[in-house]
Symmetry: C2
Subunit: 223 residues, 2 copies
């Protein structure tokens, strides 16, 4: 019995999971451009999108931002998603940004498989996260992640493009959208290029949070 | 004291309020093309988008589809929105499609202001709906709708383009999205072209329905 393949992301009401792309170096690098209007807008939008996550106890502790924080639905769901995840998968762009912005103890605490064209030896971090670099595509990365996860689940961590590749390949069983009360207008659309003739959704739950977001969970079915 | 200006629409999880445009004549005209694949796809998608609305008692009675039907949250909200609406506004394309598809007793039962470049005398239908054709823009249509609505509210009925014009002009106070568990991939996006630097949202309520949709209500604020 293998686990579920899932993703869980915050999305603006108009369907965006990230603001317009800005180079990770400009956002998080040693010479970050904090006064660049594009960087400022990216940071503002990113904060709005994740406004319900930042104050949560789990989020603060896992990213080493401090102790304490809110508890309740948003915290419980974040913690549950983390606990069920035995391995994560991400695209190269998410990894590149994370390498510049995660704390030394990266926030996964499991094996992470990075889908990339670059070859690199596994990168082990304190706290149980080891990044493995997979050069032969999304299915190979999923096979390795399943093996590493055992009977726990595999989470497609992001970014949007990588999630969509897994979704369109019919490899995602379930997902959660944390719908945020914000409009972006431009940016990275989660479902841009979705194969809508193939993918059907079965609603599992809709959980409104007192923080203004709504957690929407769907099972994925093939039409 | 004037009423609220609102809209209330069904939206796919990926942000669409209508499938890809097909001429109204092909969908609803006397020579409708029921075997055209584009028409079939439009009908399928439209049915999926409104799957929670069709079985409702209010919907069936108001569109003369029969008596009886479901009662509960979806029915209550549809009925409440209808009851608070003293006048509606719509774009020309929505009117053109409706003229071919509404029953003789059109489902508004109030004055309706159609924003159009075509001049036409008011068109009175049995049951209290009178269509007025406004040729001098969205603000003039709103002024006339407010005057007709008295202390009741004005509803921007659609379509998506007309709703967005009102939203970007800062003329909408509140809206409801009935988020449907379906992905379109292509079609008419509600928020395409939104002025996100100007429009902020304040979440009012999120109401999950047993029919798989979630009713999300927001107040509109200017940034």
């Amino acid at each position: 019995m293998t686990g579920t393949v899932l993703f869980s992301v915050a999305m603006s009401l108009d369907g965006f999971v990230a603001p317009e792309a800005v180079p990770a170096e400009d956002l998080f690098g040693p010479a970050r451009k904090q006064d660049d209007p594009r960087v400022r807008l990216w940071m503002t939008r990113w904060s709005e999108l994740h406004q319900a996550a930042f104050p949560q106890r789990f989020f603060r502790e896992n990213l080493k931002l401090g102790t304490g924080g809110e508890e309740g639905l948003d915290n419980d769901l974040a913690q549950q998603t983390h606990a069920r995840t035995g391995a994560s998968i991400m695209g190269r762009r998410m990894f590149d940004a994370g390498e510049l912005s995660w704390p030394e103890e990266a926030p996964f605490h499991t094996p992470v498989f990075v889908v990339t064209h670059s070859e690199r030896e596994p990168w082990e971090r304190p706290g149980g996260t080891t990044f493995h670099f997979v050069n032969d595509g999304i299915e190979a990365a999923l096979d390795q992640a399943r093996a590493a996860a055992g009977d726990r689940d595999v989470r497609i961590a992001g970014g949007g493009t990588t999630i969509l590749e897994y979704l369109n390949a019919g490899l995602v069983d379930e997902f959660r959208i944390t719908l945020s009360p914000v409009l972006f207008g431009v940016g990275v659309r989660l479902f841009e290029g979705i194969d809508a003739d193939r993918i059907a959704l079965e609603p599992v739950s809709a959980q409104p949070s007192p923080n203004g977001v709504t957690h929407l969970t769907y099972a994925v079915r093939q039409r």
